[in-house]
């Protein structure tokens, strides 16, 4: 029972991070119909920037702000300077470009920050909490992780549902030509979409790094699991991404805890294949629009 509780709670806090990452993928997919494989590397890069700030100033929160700000700029810059040039061409080129960025940013980080393990601080206690003499594998830090992911999701839903900008972003993503005719500034909105996604991706990078070790490839598993989570949720639905992320976190934690940790990657693949076979558009996709 104790182990079940531990495995479940570990899975939930891992799942929250997968959810944040899936959210970032979904955001970009919604705004530009591109799966951004460079998301993980971008998050890793901004996390290193945060580490430098934290080491310099001793303030975790300043590091957090810098990372999110850097994510915003990085996302916007990559969209404006690189992705814009391949948009509208064959769908595959944009994806290949993001794959290229994934490798390039990782290599750049290894050159700038070194390829060794470094510890990344956490703003809250990393000790498990005791509830009535029973230890629960939920640390104040994982509460912070789950809380920030919920907050970000709520903010995004509000943005898309209730604001003008959100509506325009959805329109621009749905049909660029028609939106342009209706006077929607499509270009800047796409940039904004990427920037927002990169902020969420940076947050995921920070959260996974907190209280653990970072190195240039530390986001690699998150890219895979976050991608599966996004597909699970249907790539189009922020809610689906969060549910998909949590489901992935729990499933992988159970596999790891009860079957064997060497099977985690296989389990992720099995889930991906199963979802694609049974519900190719994900569990939460509403329509099968824009089939290509």
């Amino acid at each position: 029972m104790q182990q079940f509780l531990n495995v479940t709670l570990t899975g939930l806090s891992q799942g929250a991070i997968y959810a944040a990452f899936a959210l970032a993928l979904v955001l970009i997919w919604r705004s530009t119909r591109i799966v951004n494989f460079a998301q993980g590397s971008m998050g890793m890069f901004t996390t290193y920037l945060a580490l430098i700030v934290i080491e310099g100033t001793g303030s975790y929160w300043l590091g957090l702000v810098v990372a999110l700000g850097a994510g915003l700029l990085l996302g916007a810059a990559i969209e404006r300077l690189i992705i814009r040039r391949v948009e509208g061409g064959p769908e595959l080129s944009a994806i290949i470009v993001t794959l290229g960025l994934f490798v390039a940013i990782q290599a750049l980080a290894a050159i700038l920050f070194g390829a060794t393990f470094r510890s990344f601080p956490a703003p809250f206690d990393l000790r498990g909490m005791m509830v009535g003499g029973v230890n629960v594998a939920l640390t104040p830090f994982s509460v912070f992780v789950i809380g920030s992911v919920v907050l970000v999701m709520a903010a995004l839903v509000a943005l898309f549902r209730f604001t003008d900008v959100g509506l325009r972003m959805r329109a621009a993503a749905f049909d660029q030509e028609v939106s342009r005719l209706l006077g929607v500034p499509v270009g800047p909105l796409l940039t904004l979409g990427w920037a927002l996604a990169a902020v969420v991706g940076s947050l995921a990078g920070l959260l996974i790094a907190g209280g653990s070790l970072v190195y240039p490839a530390y986001m690699d598993p998150i890219i895979v699991y976050g991608f599966v989570a996004a597909v699970l949720g249907g790539l189009d639905s922020p809610g689906g991404a969060v549910v998909g992320g949590l489901a992935m976190g729990l499933a992988l934690s159970y596999v790891s805890g009860y079957v064997g940790s060497e099977l985690v990657a296989m389990a992720a693949l099995a889930i991906l294949v199963a979802v694609l076979l049974v519900r190719p558009h994900g569990l939460f996709a509403r329509t099968a629009a824009r089939r290509v």
Binding site: T10, A115, T116, S119, A122, A137, F141, S212, G257, E262
Partner: protein, 445 residues
């Protein structure tokens, strides 16, 4: 769509083939140019009257680099020291080490370069079990002496199959035997859990440990190197009720297992094998957390480990004093670490082997010298080597110690043993002391 796709795919495949062909051509061209012309006229590759070239592969980048990337800098500093004192038989030692990032594919590539392009006379201290396994056959078929592999695997001790290869540090099996006996005698009531790296390291150690602890072991959990999530393993150890956990893992996993235990409020007595316990390195990985909220900076305080070399913290040890001097004169600005001492100790042993091979060494002669006089070589290592024609196994024992702050305190004297059911005995005799000038005294006659 489909035809376009397949045509594109075909074109892609042709491109890949072209690249492969070009690379293959380049590689063969280099190979042809760099082939050692050594055998004719008795000339030895990498050996001139003025110099001898020694090669090594280390992870200077990547997962395994923290700590381990220090080792070759220590080796180099000691060789520079020897060179400044006239070298060995008048020859300056040229030491070339290359980065394999702990990736066996890269190891093959850099060792190829070392043997064919740099034409090293011998290899020294190539690090890592998976990495060095990849070049074991190659080095032996090329006849390159492969001395003092930096890994505790049993693979290096197969003189019939791999006559050129010698182990160096105590292998994981004997280290686990000595830890196992200590725990069985001093903690007979403990429920023991094992935290093992899922490869040779964990396998050899489990065999050694179970010799004494089979009855007491309640769980053996394995992690896959590269997967940094060790939550399930630690949760399983906790669920099994283990109150004494012995870890056979690399340093970063010591940090990860400690962090995960905090998360689970799991507080058994920990023991880590020598390779995973360097207090300075693990401390630097964990120290940052003390600025966050893990208030206990000395997370490793009280952890049990083993030692077979003098520690950098043992300021009174004459060997540590020698190595400190060497590092001040020939090292970099960075601090002397246990890993650098490890590298210097390997270099010290290599200098002895080279001295024993005589003024006109050959590759065969170097191997024969280690087999004949290796067991008598004295140096900073706490227990003697097991080298002979029948055995290429390295240091024969360790002492058990406890981590206190940044240093250690002894729990047992040095104990020696061998693989299998060989008994564990205290190592007789006083610890060796370094010669005054810090250079091994050549064997007489």
């Amino acid at each position: 769509m489909d035809t376009v796709g397949s045509r594109r795919r075909l074109r892609g495949r042709a491109a890949v083939l072209a690249v492969v062909a070009v690379v293959a051509l380049l590689a063969s061209a280099c190979g042809a140019g760099g082939r050692p012309s050594g055998e004719e006229g008795g000339a030895q590759p990498g050996l001139t009257p003025q110099s001898v070239k020694v090669g090594a592969h280390f992870p200077l980048t990547g997962v395994a680099s923290p700590g381990y990337s220090d080792i070759p800098t220590g080796t180099k500093a000691y060789f520079d020291y020897v060179n400044a004192h006239g070298g060995v038989h008048g020859r300056q030692i040229e030491y070339v080490f290359r980065d394999d990032a702990y990736n066996p594919t890269q190891t093959s590539q850099v060792v190829n370069e070392l043997v064919l392009q740099d034409q090293v006379f011998a290899m020294l201290g190539g690090l890592g079990t998976p990495t060095h396994s990849a070049v074991l056959d190659y080095l032996n078929s090329e006849g390159v002496p492969d001395l003092f592999v930096s890994s505790g695997s049993l693979l290096w001790d197969q003189p019939e199959r791999n006559p050129q290869t010698f182990g160096w540090q105590p292998d994981y099996e004997i280290e686990a035997k000595i830890i196992g006996k200590y725990v069985a005698e001093n903690f007979p009531q403990a429920k023991v859990g094992l935290f093992l790296q899922d490869d040779d390291l964990g396998r050899d150690a489990e065999i050694g440990g179970r010799r004494f602890l089979d009855r007491q072991i309640v769980a053996a959990e394995r992690y896959t190197p590269g997967n940094t999530d060790v939550a399930p393993q630690i949760a399983a150890l906790q669920a099994a009720g283990a109150d004494f956990v012995i870890g056979f893992n690399v340093p970063s996993y010591t940090a990860l297992s400690q962090l995960q235990s905090l998360r689970l409020n799991y507080d058994p007595q920990w023991a880590y094998s020598n390779i995973g316990s360097d207090p300075a390195l693990v401390g630097s990985l964990l120290a940052r957390f003390s600025e966050g909220a893990v208030t206990d900076a000395g997370l490793l305080d009280g952890v049990i480990t083993t030692e077979y070399l003098p520690s950098v913290e043992a300021a009174g040890d004459p060997w540590t004093q020698l190595f400190t001097r060497v590092w001040q004169e020939h090292g970099t600005d960075a601090e002397l670490t246990n890993f650098r001492i490890y590298g210097m100790a390997e270099a010290y042993a290599f200098v002895q082997a080279l001295q024993a091979a005589g003024p006109d060494p050959t590759r065969e002669g170097l191997v024969a010298a280690v087999e004949q006089s290796g067991a008598q070589m004295e140096g900073p290592w706490l227990a003697p080597y097991r080298y002979s024609e029948q055995s290429h196994a390295g240091i024969s024992g360790v002492k058990i110690s406890r981590i206190v702050g940044a240093g250690t305190e002894d729990l047992t004297p040095v104990q020696v043993t061998d693989n299998g059911d060989a008994p564990i005995t205290p190592h007789p005799g006083p610890a060796s002391t370094p010669p005054a000038n810090g250079i091994p005294v050549p064997p007489t006659g």
